[in-house]
């Protein structure tokens, strides 16, 4: 370690200006409009007339340093050593010279990169750590992303949709992805309460904060055992106690599974941002390819494609036709679990005599 350089603290990240391609620096804040040229290529035109072409490729997000070196090599060749990532983890090559666009696209294709994600399509999937890195995961995130996108990749590379469809995956209800406001999203869920490892509680957990962590007040102290106890019928398996107290593992391979939520969005276009709502409460964790999950996602997506108007996001479509119709056209069963019995109960029950048959 003798050769270590002098550490610095509190310097913050490098200033972005060091990394901007020249065309962007010159036209910073002065863009005029853009045009989408294909599923993976768009051009932005500045007031000055200057143009920058963007070529977007998919990334699995969990990438090796060699992957990064590969894309750097390409960026050196076509983009004077500049590139960026998107907020959904795609890679964007920024080209200021029109003549380099086609060669870049060709080389990317040759090398097997997946070009697309621009416009009214499915873009990359915001997701989380899963079994690759998290102690809390009820399912694997990267795996679910892969199997979904393997099925849906044509909506990334070519096929157009009524509007953008944002997918997300979170491996537990902490929802480190954007699951709670996505068009279609998967979330790993439990179906059984945590187990209490009484001998470990006193070392690993603070009893009052463990008790306080439970949203349904299912947990109470168990002074005899110097531990806690759970009122099982109150537990809704959220796992928040496990976040606070490692001695309360909740994972249960037989019963952990995947829920599908739909209809969320974050943009303000047309309708307000929306929360996702529960479409399928539970599907089995069936790795490596989760066929039940993929099938249900496709069912929902296809119903949307069939039914939505141009520019209508999935949630907007459902709200137009009504949720009762959503269950009808998708054929998904409506279950007790769909009915809110928690924070938004009042808002979501049908306080009206109107609904569709």
């Amino acid at each position: 370690m003798s050769e270590l350089p002098q550490r610095q603290t509190d310097i913050g990240p490098p200033h972005y200006s060091k990394f901007l391609p020249p065309v962007i620096k010159e036209n910073y804040g002065k863009w005029r409009y853009h045009e989408i040229l294909s599923a993976g290529v768009m051009v932005h035109v500045a007031e000055s007339g200057a143009k920058v072409w963007t070529v977007r490729v998919a990334s699995p997000r969990l990438v090796s340093t060699d992957f990064i070196r590969d894309i750097c090599e390409i960026a050196d060749k076509y983009c004077d050593g500049h590139l960026r990532f998107t907020t959904r983890h795609n890679v964007e090559f920024l080209v200021s010279d029109e003549s380099k666009v086609d060669p870049l696209v060709n080389e990317l294709k040759e090398k097997g990169y997946m070009i697309g994600g621009i416009g009214d399509r499915i873009s990359n999937v915001v997701h989380t750590q899963g079994w690759v890195h998290c102690h809390s995961a009820a399912t694997d995130a990267s795996g679910l992303v892969k199997v979904m996108m393997d099925e849906l990749h044509e909506y990334f590379t070519e096929k157009e949709l009524p509007a953008k469809v944002r997918l997300a995956v979170a491996c537990c209800v902490n929802m480190c992805g954007a699951v709670h406001c996505s068009d279609i999203a998967l979330v790993g869920v439990h179906k059984t309460p945590p187990r209490i490892e009484h001998d470990k509680v006193k070392n690993l957990c603070e009893i009052p904060s463990t008790v306080a962590s439970c949203p349904t007040s299912a947990i109470s102290p168990d002074p005899a055992k110097k531990s806690v106890k759970i009122k099982i019928e109150k537990c809704m398996y959220c796992g928040n106690c496990y976040s606070v107290c490692p001695a309360m593992p909740i994972s249960d391979p037989k019963n952990d599974g995947v829920a599908i939520v739909v209809g969320g969005k974050v943009s303000n276009l047309r309708s307000n941002p929306k929360f996702s709502k529960l479409a399928v409460p539970w599907l089995p964790n069936n790795p490596p390819r989760w066929p039940e999950v993929v099938e249900n996602v496709k069912k929902i997506l296809n119903a949307y494609i069939e039914g939505a108007k141009k520019h209508e996001r999935l949630g907007e479509w459902v709200e137009r036709i009504g949720w009762e119709k959503f269950f009808k056209v998708t054929g998904l069963p409506f279950q007790l679990q769909h009915i809110d019995d928690f924070t938004f109960a009042r808002e979501t029950w049908r306080m009206a005599a109107t609904f569709k048959w």
Partner: protein, 399 residues
């Protein structure tokens, strides 16, 4: 290094059209650039086991970090280290990304080189808060990685009960709709709150996300305790020739634009597009769909919203309006001042693990406004309260 563990299940995930993360792990497991391939090798093995058993094999937590910082590293240990010693420790390092996720290849290679030397050779580009995630190393390597990174101008991001790494949309760098400089503000916020970012001292995490306009390409309204969303005052500027061009090129302006305007403030007679700007709520739909023809009003600024978070514990929150309009120009003192007043309120009243949005919900939005000195404004609510129960202050009451 050849594969240590057979991985029949996850090998299935090398198949199919979409780029494969399993392939990436295998690359790191085999790469000659990576000094210690055992990380990725044993990750493959443990992941295969998780796929088989349908459960995670990571232990809960474990506090590790670099000297002087309380955040930036997520400690992680395998629960079966004997079987997979390469991932006995598998901590992630969160490196604060540059604004807008722009890089030079030089900078990226530098990071790769450091990581290959001290870590798994695996990364997330990027974490969903925005950091560069260096995925997996052992405790002993944390200080060296940090020394290498920081000496080259990189710093760690946030974790724990701290400011989390602020992030932003591409904004003015490559977007015609940015109403303020999202990259610069992100940089300035990050710099201003370095201490709060590296040394957790809040009740819980606090996230900033900067979106240049209401399109919100950084999902700020759903994923940031403070969401700063660009907007404008003044009329939408219309280029009627370009409108007619859109029509000529096949756009059904009535159906696609006018009928989809949420406020019904537009009309189109086949020749001229009219907007009753007084009724426009600046949703961005028409502008986004007709970017050549329509431009935002001229007085640019932002709306500040507060409070979004994931559903734990009582259901998700989206951020809601607390400042309808603010001009955002350096040195941003008005904004910083507001942030500090909010944190004071949170510090004073917040419970452990209580996000600021949850706190305001518990204490009451009016109480929050009063204590932070923000004037009530109808933009703060979609609708007024329904029940007839509300508080008055001493000064409102006749004695």
């Amino acid at each position: 290094m050849p594969q240590k563990h057979p991985t029949p299940l996850i090998d299935e995930l090398e198949k199919g059209a979409f780029p494969s993360f399993v392939k990436e792990i295998k690359r790191a497991a085999e790469s000659s650039n990576v000094q210690d391939n055992n990380y990725a090798q044993d990750l493959l093995g443990q992941l295969e086991l998780s796929y088989k058993e349908k459960k995670t094999h990571w232990k809960h937590g474990g506090i590790v970090g670099v000297r002087g910082y309380g955040s930036g590293v997520i400690g992680r240990y395998s629960d079966i280290p004997d079987q997979f010693p390469g991932v006995a420790h598998f901590h992630t390092i969160r490196v604060n990304q540059p604004g807008g996720f722009f890089y030079t290849t030089e900078a990226l290679r530098e990071i790769c080189d450091i990581w290959d030397k001290y870590g798994s050779g695996l990364t997330n580009m990027h974490g969903s808060t925005g950091d560069i995630i260096l995925l997996g190393t052992k405790t002993d390597n944390l200080e060296p990685v940090f020394a290498e990174l920081s000496s080259r101008g990189w710093d760690l991001g946030g974790s724990g009960s701290a400011v989390r790494t602020p992030s932003c949309c591409v904004g003015p760098a490559r977007c015609e709709w940015a109403c303020y400089d999202t990259l610069e503000l992100t940089y300035q916020i990050t710099q201003r709150f370095q201490d709060e970012l590296h040394r957790p001292m809040f009740p819980y995490k606090f996230k900033f996300k900067m979106a240049g306009c209401a399109v919100d390409c950084i999902a700020s309204i759903a994923r940031a305790d403070m969401s700063i969303i660009g907007t404008w005052k003044g009329n939408i500027q219309i280029d009627q020739d370009e409108v007619r061009n859109y029509a000529k090129n096949g756009m059904d302006i009535q159906a696609e634009i006018v009928d989809m305007c949420p406020t019904g403030c537009m009309s189109w007679d086949g020749n001229e597009l009219k907007i009753n700007d007084e009724d426009c709520n600046r949703c961005m739909h028409c502008i986004a769909k007709m970017t050549k023809a329509l431009r935002q009003g001229e007085e640019k600024g932002a709306t500040i919203l507060l409070g979004s978070k994931a559903p734990i514990v009582t259901g998700a929150l989206m951020s809601w309006v607390i400042v309808p309009f603010i001009k955002l120009e350096p040195p941003y003192e008005e904004l910083f001042d507001l942030v500090e007043r909010i944190w004071e309120f949170w510090d004073e009243h917040g419970k452990n693990r209580e996000r600021v949005g949850e706190l305001i919900e518990r204490m009451g939005f009016p109480v929050f406004l009063k204590e932070t000195g923000i004037e009530p404004h109808p933009a703060m609510v979609k609708e007024p309260r329904r029940d007839p129960f509300f508080f008055w202050s001493e000064e409102d009451v006749e004695k």
